[in-house]
């Protein structure tokens, strides 16, 4: 397959098409508009469903309806739009039907701006909508990785009857890079024993998230948790760089992880034995692997484009075994590799203590600037 220049949002849209997405419903919001625009011509061309909805709540509820048919279905949006979709996402989780969500994060809170941010990690990974549920979240760091994860996202959503989110930020959505797109896959519509299609020759199917009988609702919650525990066991994904001899380890996901790789290479050029651990499945988070890395690392540096949201997950894994340092940029500011290199140097000079609060120390440094 040829390597071609693609814009992130369009490549993701085409990758979804090739992964057999049958229905897309969305609403314009920057910086994800190109997903919607691209699919507005590509889906009808293939005889597949596309609707530009009147709002994000409408879009996610169209997704909800289509998901109830068992078709491969997706939507895409960006931070404020994702907030509007939380109602539908909770219903979809509660009804146990599969869907793929692409979230192209931007600066917030509120209307914020249209610059790249990672401020919605908690919202996406920890549920967002009401009730106990755990969406699967994959965070690619390049357009190629996003493209490669699209079929995986559909497979995971259908395997675990769950929401699978591709979590990127505006920079991955908007930039262009060379990518190899996968071959077109045939549309797969399985005959699920739960999907609605008209009760021809079978008992009727009912799909709902209402369980007025409280013990039944508890059982449903346990069933949802059971599938999540399975996903937690089987679906951990991460990438490691220069870790073989690394004494210091940076942890970052998505764009922050990608920038960190440049920083690691620059620091290596200075003779610093530093490596990068980049979680791809941020939910389920690779806690065990981070725990193992505590044996090797003298300290960790967590980098994010938020106030330290993934940091909390790292701290759960590290459990004060070694010092953790944090560095974040906020509100749509993209960090430069140099900033991370400086942080690595500072960390080596002053590693701190394992019980230090990295988010607090970072905040003190930020306001002292």
């Amino acid at each position: 397959m040829a390597r071609e220049m693609w814009k992130g949002n369009e490549a993701i849209a085409e990758a979804a098409v090739r992964a057999g997405v049958e229905a897309y419903f969305g609403y314009p919001i920057t910086p994800q508009n190109e997903v919607l625009e691209y699919l507005s011509h590509r889906m009808p061309e293939l005889g597949r469903a596309f609707v530009q909805a009147e709002s994000e709540p409408a879009a996610i509820n169209m997704v909800y309806g289509a998901a109830c048919t068992g078709a491969r279905v997706m939507t895409s949006s960006s931070s404020p739009g994702i907030s509007l979709m939380q109602e539908g996402l909770s219903y979809i989780a509660g009804t146990e039907v599969p869907m793929v969500l692409v979230n192209v994060m931007r600066g917030g809170p509120g209307l914020g701006n249209i610059a790249p941010s990672q401020g919605d990690y908690n919202q996406i990974c920890k549920g967002g909508g009401h009730g106990d549920y755990h969406p699967i979240v994959l965070a690619p760091a390049s357009i190629q990785e996003a493209v490669d994860l699209m079929p995986v996202a559909f497979e995971l959503a259908h395997k675990y009857l769950n929401i699978c989110t591709i979590l990127i930020d505006g920079s991955i959505g908007q930039m262009m890079e060379p990518v190899t797109l996968p071959e077109m896959q045939p549309v797969i519509r399985k005959e699920y024993d739960w999907a609605v299609s008209g009760a021809k020759g079978r008992k009727r199917h009912l799909l709902s998230s209402i369980y007025l009988d409280v013990p039944t609702e508890e059982k449903v919650n346990l069933r949802i948790l059971g599938r999540w525990r399975e996903a937690r066991e089987n679906e951990i994904r991460f990438k490691e760089y220069y870790l073989d001899d690394a004494e210091y380890i940076i942890i970052g996901f998505g764009t922050a992880g990608r920038i960190a790789l440049s920083a690691v290479r620059a620091a290596r050029a200075q003779g610093i034995k530093v490596g990068l651990f980049r979680p791809i499945s941020v939910n389920p988070f690779p806690y065990k692997r981070v725990e193992e890395l505590c044996k090797q690392a003298q300290s960790f540096l967590v980098v994010e484009m938020n106030t330290g949201q993934m940091l909390k997950d790292v701290q759960v894994a590290v459990r004060n075994r070694v010092p953790v340092r944090f560095y974040g940029r906020l509100g749509g500011v993209m960090p430069f590799p140099d900033e991370f290199v400086t942080e690595i140097q500072e960390m080596i000079k002053n590693p701190g203590k394992p019980e230090d609060d990295p988010a607090d120390l970072w905040y003190q440094r930020m306001i002292a600037r």
């Binding site: 909800y64 078709a71 279905v73 009804t95 709902s208």
Partner: protein, 260 residues
């Protein structure tokens, strides 16, 4: 066994095939049961029970699927037209309908309703207008009449501060995507028969791909209105019909040409 003592030749009334044998959870006197039955009868008569997919609302009819015996999904409050859109776009040859009350359809779901109609979404909506929120205990609805007492307009709906009722059939009829928009009532047998015919026409419009169809049914909520079932039927006729005139608000020429 009732079935054994009935002479089949004399049978004039039976449970439709599309209606499950489930004790009703609706209040005695409520017209939801009538509306449910009409939908079940029509789907059976059209022979589409095995290709119909219903979308239940949030409100008293949240359990519509306990009675109407087809595949069913249950939507978030007001989102049934969006959910029906998602299903219909994946299964264009299925019969997709939602069943919604006034709070669901005309308040929280106003955008979903209007835009489904504007898109000419090929779905059918059965809209129950009883001028009140029944399930949550009788609060003011977008269709509550001026001066009407509810638990959230205890002194009567004051149009100065609480606005005016919305006439959905009239509003939707202005949209080019709407193929069939009518208002009927369930307060007496003659009107119930007219309502059934309208429901049939609405589903036929969908089967023939003629765009968005909606039947608004003026209904009673004797519990929420604080009257007896019989009083509620009289109240509907006396107060609701003048405010929400019965009639055909939009019948596309293709729908009018259907032989039913």
């Amino acid at each position: 066994m009732v079935a054994t003592i009935i002479n089949p030749e004399n049978l004039v009334y039976a449970r439709p095939k599309g209606f499950t044998d489930t004790p009703s959870h609706y209040c005695p006197g409520c017209t939801h049961g009538t509306a449910h039955r009409l939908v079940a009868e029509v789907l059976e008569e059209m022979n589409v029970l095995d290709k119909a997919i219903g979308v239940a609302p949030v409100g008293c009819a949240v359990f519509a699927y306990n009675y109407i015996d087809t595949d069913f999904v249950q939507a978030a409050h007001g989102r049934a037209p969006a959910m029906a859109t998602g299903i219909k776009r994946v299964w264009p040859d299925r019969v997709v309908f939602s069943y919604q009350g006034d709070g669901d359809l005309a308040s929280i779901g106003m955008a979903e309703t209007v835009h489904a109609a504007a898109r000419g979404e090929n779905i059918t909506i059965i809209f129950i207008n009883n001028a009140i929120y029944g399930m949550t205990g009788g609060q003011m609805a977008p269709t509550t009449l001026p001066g009407m007492k509810t638990t959230s307009s205890p002194n009567g709906r004051d149009v100065e501060t609480q606005g005016y009722p919305i006439r959905m059939a009239e509003l939707l009829a202005t949209l080019d995507g709407a193929g069939y928009i009518v208002r009927r009532s369930l307060h007496d047998p003659a009107n119930i028969r007219k309502a059934k015919k309208a429901i049939r026409t609405a589903f036929e419009a969908q089967v023939h791909g003629l765009g968005f169809s909606l039947v608004e049914l003026l209904s009673t909520c004797n519990t929420g209105w604080g009257v007896t079932p019989i009083q509620s039927l009289a109240w509907l006729e006396e107060h609701m019909i003048p405010a929400f005139p019965l009639g055909d608000y939009k019948i596309a020429p293709e729908v009018a040409a259907l032989k039913i």
